[in-house]
Structures are given as C-alpha cells and as structure tokens.
C-alpha cells in the first residue's frame, strides 16, 4: 500500500474544501472542461494576442466559474456564462497599462468564394489575427462570438453586456472595420 505523504493529505484537504466551495463536482467539471477549454482558450488567445496571458486568463476564467453561485438553466447558459467571465477578464486586463505586441508581416489575399490554397489560408489567418489586433476589445468579442462561434445577437448582447437592440449597429461597424483592415492585409 502506498504511504500517504503530507502533500497527499494537503491535497485531500484542498479537494474537500473545493468540493464544498465549487459549484460542480470534479467529474462534472472534467466533462464541461473537455467541451469548452479549447474554444475558450482560442477565444482568449484571439482577444489578447498573447499566449501566456491567454493561459493565465483561462485558469482564472475556470476558477471564477467554479466559485460562481449562478443557478444555470442548461449547458448553453453555463457555456455563455463562461464566455462572459472570459470577456470580462480580457476587458479588465485591457484597462491596465500594457505593451502592444507587433505582428508579423504578410501578403494580402482578399476573401473570395473559391477554395484557397493551404498557403493562402495560412496567410489569411495571420491577416485576420493582425486585423483583429487592431480592433477594440469589444469589437473583437462581438465578431468572434458572432462569426467564429455563431452565437445569436441575444446571446452576444448578454455576454458582452449591451442591449440586444444596440448590438446590430455595433456589430455592423465592427464588421466593416474588420473588412476594411482585411483589405489592407491587417494594416491600418
């Protein structure tokens, strides 16, 4: 039989504590995490343009989610709440002074309906990331939730904290800005 060390005992204590303060069990969390971690990490990465920061915010997002006392109606509600926490964390971080990371230089293929080559797709992805980096944080959130995740206007409005009626013009403006930036390869 394996001996219990002090660390093991502490871990057991910590898990007991967690089970009491967290809103779900470890088993339920594992299932939820497997479904959401990657999309949320990608979202955070695209919102921050900083992988290390995105990793930190991912941990913080799940911590705040586990400590929340919100009674969730269903899995969609739970998922939207998770994105809301992530969005708020990114916006909170943006309010602090930070250093802008320069993006890489690349050529500019315009969007079209024909199938692009692998190289074109890679270049477009970099253009998109560069263009997204030039948008305001709220514009990035709106566009990503609408066009990468396919959320409805109501869901986006609830997630970023604006009225549904205000979302259409905001989304339109953000989309036009992004389209304009993409035409110049992500440069202003």
């Amino acid at each position: 039989m394996r001996e219990f060390t002090l660390t093991d005992m502490e871990r057991l204590g910590a898990f007991d504590e967690a089970e009491r303060t967290f809103q779900m069990t470890e088993e339920a969390f594992r299932t939820f995490y497997e479904l959401t971690a990657r999309p949320v990490r990608v979202y955070l990465g695209r919102m921050t343009n900083d992988d290390r920061l995105a990793d930190d915010l991912l941990q913080e997002t799940y911590y705040r989610f586990l400590r929340s006392n919100v009674p969730f109606e269903n899995d969609d509600h739970r998922r939207r709440y998770l994105y809301r926490i992530a969005t708020n964390l990114v916006h909170d971080h943006r309010r602090k002074p930070h250093v802008e990371i320069p993006s890489a230089v690349l050529p500019e293929p315009a969007p079209r309906f024909t199938e692009p080559t692998l190289a074109e797709r890679a270049a477009r992805r970099i253009d998109l990331q560069r263009a997204m980096a030039r948008l305001k944080p709220r514009e990035r959130s709106m566009l990503w939730l609408a066009y990468a995740l396919g959320w409805s206007h109501e869901e986006i409005a609830a997630s970023i904290g604006v009225k549904t009626g205000s979302l259409k013009p905001l989304l339109h403006r953000a989309r036009q800005r992004l389209a304009g930036l993409l035409k110049t390869g992500g440069r202003s």
């Binding site: 910590a14 504590e17 992805r125 998109l128």
Partner: protein, 170 residues
C-alpha cells in the same frame, strides 16, 4: 435588408460554420450572398474566422482538467484561509493601537509623579554647587534625563511590537 443587416445573415453564418458554404448549401443562398453586400461581407468574415477557429482549436495547448481543478482548489483554499485570517489582522491592529495608547497614558501619568522626585534630588544636590546657574543646569539635565528614560522605556515596549507587525505575513 436594412443596410446594416440582412434576414439571410443567420442562414449564411450557419452554412459557413457547418462547413457547407459555398459548396453543399442552397444555391439560392450562395447567389444571394454574391449580390447582397451584407451577406458577402458576413460570409467572407465568417469563413475566415471559422477557418481560424477550427485550426486554432487543434493547435492550441490546454492544461488537463485535473490540473485546472487542482490549481483552482488550492487557490480556493488560500482565498478562504485569507478570508478567515482577516478578523485576526483587525485584532492585531486594535491590539497595537491599544498598546500604544496605554504606553502614552502611562507616560502621561508617570511624568507628574516623577517631577517631585526630580525636584527633591535637585534640592538635595543644590547645596553642593557653588552657584545658582550651575545648580539650574544640573536640574534641567535631571529633568531631561528623566524624560529620555521614559521615552527609552516606551521604545523598549513599542519596538518589539512594531517589529512583530512589520515581519508578520500580512
């Protein structure tokens, strides 16, 4: 269509996100997207974002759920420990304030009692000095020494307390 949105927009987004745009979805929708400025823009942006999202999902590294859970558990424990320690920190502050107050009160009470002793000592030694000026200087020195003694005693009590609070974790 209102200029800023189009009724076909959700259908275009759904088709793009399901990977069926432009091939595999309704021809009429593709034709509409070619003509409608909003849907053309939406389809272009959604295609780019969907592609980026799909690829990034496989490229991105996320920690195991157990690791995230464990870190969150440790953090929750630390947070709850800090929350439970907060009243103790308050109590420490109050204790320190009371100690300083008591010290000042003792000094204030001891000073008038000390003065007669100083005066008596001065009266005893005054006769040994040849002039009044020298005697006054010695008396003033005695008063000053008494005051310095009291301040020194106060520091001896307050200094360990101050060190304790300065070096404590909070």
């Amino acid at each position: 269509m209102s200029g800023i949105d189009c009724t076909y927009e959700p259908a275009v987004v759904t088709a793009v996100l399901s990977g069926q745009f432009p091939r595999g979805c309704d021809e009429a929708l593709v034709a509409h997207a070619r003509e409608c400025e909003v849907c053309r823009e939406v389809s272009a942006i959604a295609t780019l974002m969907h592609d980026d999202h799909d690829r990034a999902r496989y490229e991105v590294q996320v920690p195991a759920s157990g690791q995230v859970w464990w870190r969150a558990a440790v953090r929750a424990r630390l947070d709850s420990t800090q929350a439970s320690m907060r009243p103790m920190t308050w109590l420490h502050g109050i204790t320190a304030a009371v100690a300083v107050g008591v010290m000042l009160a003792v000094m204030g009470a001891a000073w008038p009692m000390l003065m007669p002793v100083v005066e008596r000592v001065w009266a005893m030694v005054a006769g040994y000095f040849p002039s009044a000026d020298v005697a006054n200087a010695v008396a003033n020195g005695l008063r000053l020494s008494a005051m310095l003694g009291l301040i020194g005693a106060a520091i001896l009590v307050v200094a360990p307390l101050a060190l304790y609070f300065a070096l404590s974790d909070d």
